[in-house]
Amino acid sequence: MRNPYRTQAVAFFFLLLATLLIVVPVGLVVVIIVQKGLPAVNWTFLSDIPRQGMRAGGIFPAIIGTFYLVSGAILFALPIGLLAAVYLTEYAKDNLLTRIIKLAIVNLAGVPSVVYGLFGLALFVVFFKFGASILSGSLTLGIMILPIIITTSREALESVPASFREVSLSLGVSKWQTIRHIVLPNAIPGILTGTILGLGRAAGETAPILFTVAAFYLPQLPGSVFDQVMALPYHLYVISTQVPNVDEKIRYGTAFVLLALVLFMNLIAIVIRSKFRKKKKW
């Protein structure tokens, strides 16, 4: 005879084990980076340019570079992604073409980032002659995160109850007004979740910016969107593998700053999202 209590205990054990296996590495990553990186972080590190072949000084240009690139990517991808999502959920007829487009978008999210990098190089840097620049890098990152933003926005729009749309239309409100006043406000939390995901991805990727914008060493701030910049993920790669004798503290400090920057940008979106979530109760 099987003992149901023992089966349950075994199942519970494996479920817990699986959860711990996920939590522990994440926790360790954070602990190690904070432990090793935090001591390096001081005002000079955050506000100074790199000195002595990046073995001393700060990482300010890379912070600013990543901030510009991520902002640019969101600025480009959020409006376009959102409009595309609205079109696909509210206007596009449910036919073969629409379904192929939706499938293609989902699959685009799985394309390796280095492919986006090469695409950005060919299209923005070479074809449009933007050169290696903030503009090229932002657009490349933007295209990379478009599928994430479209997919999550679509889910958010679809989760708005059909009855809201129906009531609004039955009150003589036009379709666009319904989308504008009822559907979008109720979908904002989900849309922001997609934005957060995209933001984190854009901030952390190295491959897409490698050919399109990132500078190996550029101890000055950009003057326009056609300038190159340093960026945190690439800078981390450079001082970890390309420059000999960089103090471990500086490497972990850079990783810590990248982590903190992503967290900080996420936090802004999370605060906005929770404001909207409070209103949403159905």
């Binding site: 809201f164 129906e166 039955s170 009150l171 003589g172 007004q177 109720n186």
Partner: protein, 251 residues
């Protein structure tokens, strides 16, 4: 005076013939009930009047539905204008997840653009008064509409509709989620509203139709079997099927 006249109205959902040659005249400032077993097409008929069936894929209509002298089934019909004139109360109370106040001014705000606060306040007061909710809710205008009771929510939905100043109120089983007391009060409200609006109510509750309506139409399998004064339909039905249905032997 007729509010809505249908002439040889037919409707198909794809291959399914949902309404068959419906000819009826719905009178102004009266309550008309449409009764019949589930799936007989009564809700479909109701949704023809504000063209809400348009959102169903594969829907096709022939015949005429005349409101204010215009056939509303033509492609040229301005649906926004039509739906302002012919409003709908749904089966489930469905206020927006907004405050009581914002729910009521929702349509008015979009239709009239920028309005002064006092004009909006007046709309809210008037609409709530006409659904007999003003005394209950005048101090709770900024609380969420979702915190109200089911009956209050349904009244609020009527108020939200009235704020758009329609002529016709279509009610699709408006009491089906309410308890008997709340149902009685909604029926009372319908009688109050009759002097200002033409009301068409779909109900599967024959007692409700008998209690509240002036005219009744009985539908079966997409056909309008019998249409006339409620008292006549319920006391001396002309068609055997009507009689069987209202005496409980059918459906």
């Amino acid at each position: 005076m007729s509010e809505i006249v249908t002439k040889n109205l037919n409707l198909w959902y794809g291959p399914f013939h949902a309404l068959k040659d419906v000819n009826a005249s719905f009178e102004k400032h009266r309550i008309t009930a449409i009764i019949g077993p589930s799936g007989c097409g009564k809700s479909t008929l109701l949704r023809v009047f504000n063209r809400m069936n348009d959102f169903v894929d594969g829907v096709r209509m022939t015949g005429e539905v005349v409101i204010d002298g215009a056939n509303i089934l033509t492609g040229r019909m301005d649906l926004v204008a039509l739906r302002k004139k012919v409003g709908m109360v749904f089966q489930r109370p469905n206020p927006f997840p907004l405050s009581v106040y914002e729910n009521i001014v929702f349509g008015e705000r979009i239709h009239s653009g920028a309005m002064s606060r006092s004009a909006l306040d007046a709309v809210v007061e008037q609409s709530l008064k006409s659904v007999l909710l003003w005394d209950e809710l005048k101090d709770k205008l900024n609380s969420s509409a979702l915190s109200l009771s089911l009956e209050q929510k349904q009244r609020l939905c009527v108020a939200r509709l009235i704020a758009v100043k329609p002529e016709v109120l279509l009610m699709d089983e408006p009491c089906s989620t309410l308890d008997p007391q709340a149902t009685a009060r909604i029926e009372e409200l319908m009688r109050e509203l009759k002097s200002d609006y033409s009301i068409i109510i779909v109900t599967h509750n024959m007692q409700q139709a008998a209690r509240v309506s002036d005219d009744t139409g009985f539908m079966l399998l997409g056909e309008l079997i019998e249409f006339g004064k409620t008292t006549e339909i319920f006391t001396a039905p002309k068609d055997r099927r009507t009689e069987e249905y209202i005496t409980g032997r059918y459906g």
